[in-house]
Symmetry: C2
Subunit: 348 residues, 2 copies
DNA sequence: GTGAAAGCGCTAACAT
DNA sequence: ATGTTAGCGCTTTCAC
């Protein structure tokens, strides 16, 4: 901050070449003679020149900035996703501008506008709702940069999407529970208006159907917060015909289910079996290790990046690409055979 | 992307005012007459004008971009920190450019250079090592923007820092263990060359001293990865005089300790008590709920942001500010009375 | 292979 | 209160 930083002009001056040539050795946009190149390199070293990427971006209309939008950075799932994306970005000479929507549609729109104003070249979004992207596109009349939707909004028309085979994952999980003898299986979910969640519910429903258990389907909706989810499932757990198994459709829902079951003094999986969603280290550290439907989050990140780069390089086909990656059911300790319900001990 | 976006020039033209006036209604830098203001607003609406923040930043030399550097985004602690910072940034009209150092000094330097090239106005860094910032400053000969170091590098000269009272936290944790009758308490840590870690070790050592247990101090160093940490503590656990308690100095170390103890078929806290570091939801979901030293991560974020904004506004004093926030020992279920060691069951 | 010149879109001086 | 002008630092025609 002492005296103002040298510009490419200074470099050119010192090297006795034109700014254009200096620029060309820095960016390799066009061939440069060995003689000139050497002198420019020398000048750069002596001056400690660093290019101003802001100016370069303005002129070249290439910011090499990618906007990343997630509902909640502190959610392990999204944090892992961002981690994966950042790795790719660093390797490709891009930087990430990260914003959070807090699961709020209005905030999301506002934050995305901020990203667009910054001339980001592309967008990777876990939208707060399935219609987010369509809304954005409508408002901007098509003036939206290449975008990839991840985890949510999968299959939206006109945009590349990456997601999991949620229905299949949920089907496997529910079958597992039914195979264990469970007949009262509750689903715990933050909401039901997202397609990926609906797919999970559909998988659940299908499994129930197969076993003629459809009438016993029950879905607890608790909102995005831990407390809300916990409250929702606790209510269900208080009923006389309380579920003997809970299928939590997100990692936060799984946490909520565990806490609720504990709070009632019930045993996992003795009284209540639990299947979660997503798979992270802490889920198999303390007991019981959680049975869960693992989503391939690293592949989410790499697929999303690949798709985005294809769009940016113009190498992509006109139609949207829709990637669906398989989930893996990890059977661990939180699920066990169904047992007859005991009353909750008074005062427990 | 259809036809090129309107510029402030177009707005001015349509409103019948000068670009300067249009700019002034957009930015409120100088007062504008009601008449002109209204016409500019109208033009903006009709054209769907959005300012190009890249150009504005270049001209005004104010990017309103803050660089954030963390060792590992997927680590819950850092993810929570970033979450907190992003909230503040959004509220203050800034955006965050997020990079990860992967705990690697060279990568860190490279990524920070990339941030500086983008003319970020400030830097919030969890450095990969205590000397990172000094190295950066040396290399750039003072050409470094306002910076706040968080979690690590606390007390570094010439830079604002935010951290926890690690020694006190560790002292409390170790006293708790000693009070439970433990005499062989191992520390598990990724490394010992970071000041915050050394402070934790110092707190541990002090507590040992108080109880005349100094000769029994043992520190297992396992590197940053879960597997490395787990391997390190497993070795110690295999010894005949294995520890009856483990004090893990990071959340990853805690996870490693738990996994290692489990793998040996030992009970927590029956055979081995564990105290962790940091506090997150999953730590008190599955059993046993983890006793841990909680760092006030949200306050880390808000303090760091406040400090940075003070520097940016010039409202800060010349000397560096050093903030140390208290930790809280959360006593839960993973710590219990020391019991005589039993042999590890053969074949377990 | 190299240079001269024109701006990217915006805002800060300096006018009035 | 408003307009005019210059130029942030860079890249890119277009010449040679």
């Amino acid at each position: 901050m002492s005296r103002k930083a040298p510009t490419i002009h200074d470099v050119a001056l010192r090297a006795g070449v034109s700014p254009a040539t200096a620029s060309n050795v820095v960016n390799g946009n066009r061939p440069v003679g060995d003689e000139s190149r050497a002198r420019v390199m020398k000048a750069i070293g002596e001056l400690g020149y660093r290019p101003n990427r802001l100016a370069a971006a303005l002129r070249a209309k290439r910011s090499r900035l990618i906007g990343v939008v997630v509902p909640e950075i502190s959610n392990v799932f999204f944090a892992s996703l961002v981690h994966g994306i950042e790795e790719q970005a660093a390797a490709s000479g891009y930087e990430l501008v990260l914003v959070s929507s807090s699961e709020d549609k209005a905030i999301e729109q506002r934050r995305i506008e901020a990203l667009l104003d910054r001339q980001i070249e592309g967008l990777i979004v876990v939208p707060s709702n399935d219609a987010s992207f369509a809304a954005l596109r409508d408002k901007r009349c098509g003036g939206v940069p290449p975008t990839v939707l991840v985890d949510r909004g999968c299959g939206s028309p006109g945009v590349d999407t990456v997601g999991a085979e949620c229905a299949a994952g949920a089907l496997a999980a529910t079958r597992h529970l039914i195979g264990l003898g469970h007949r009262d299986i509750a689903v715990l979910t933050p909401w039901i208006n997202l397609a990926n969640i609906r797919a999970r519910i559909e998988g659940y429903t299908r499994a129930l159907d197969e076993a003629d258990l459809s009438p016993r389907a029950r879905v607890c909706v608790g909102g995005p917060t831990l407390d809300g989810l916990r409250g929702a499932i606790e209510q269900d757990l208080h009923r006389a015909d309380r579920p003997t198994a809970i299928f939590a459709l997100t990692n936060v829902a799984a946490l909520a289910a565990i806490k609720a079951v504990r709070a009632l003094g019930l045993d996992i999986p003795g009284d209540v079996s639990i299947v979660g969603f997503d798979d992270f280290d802490w889920m198999c550290a303390l007991r019981p290790y959680l049975t869960t439907v693992a989503q391939p989050v690293d592949e989410f990140a790499s697929s999303a990046w690949r798709l985005l780069m294809q769009r940016l390089s113009g190498a992509a086909r006109a139609e949207e690409v829709r990637i669906e990656l398989p989930c893996a059911l990890k059977v661990r300790e939180s699920t066990g055979p169904a047992r007859p319900r005991l009353k909750i001990a008074a005062g427990a």
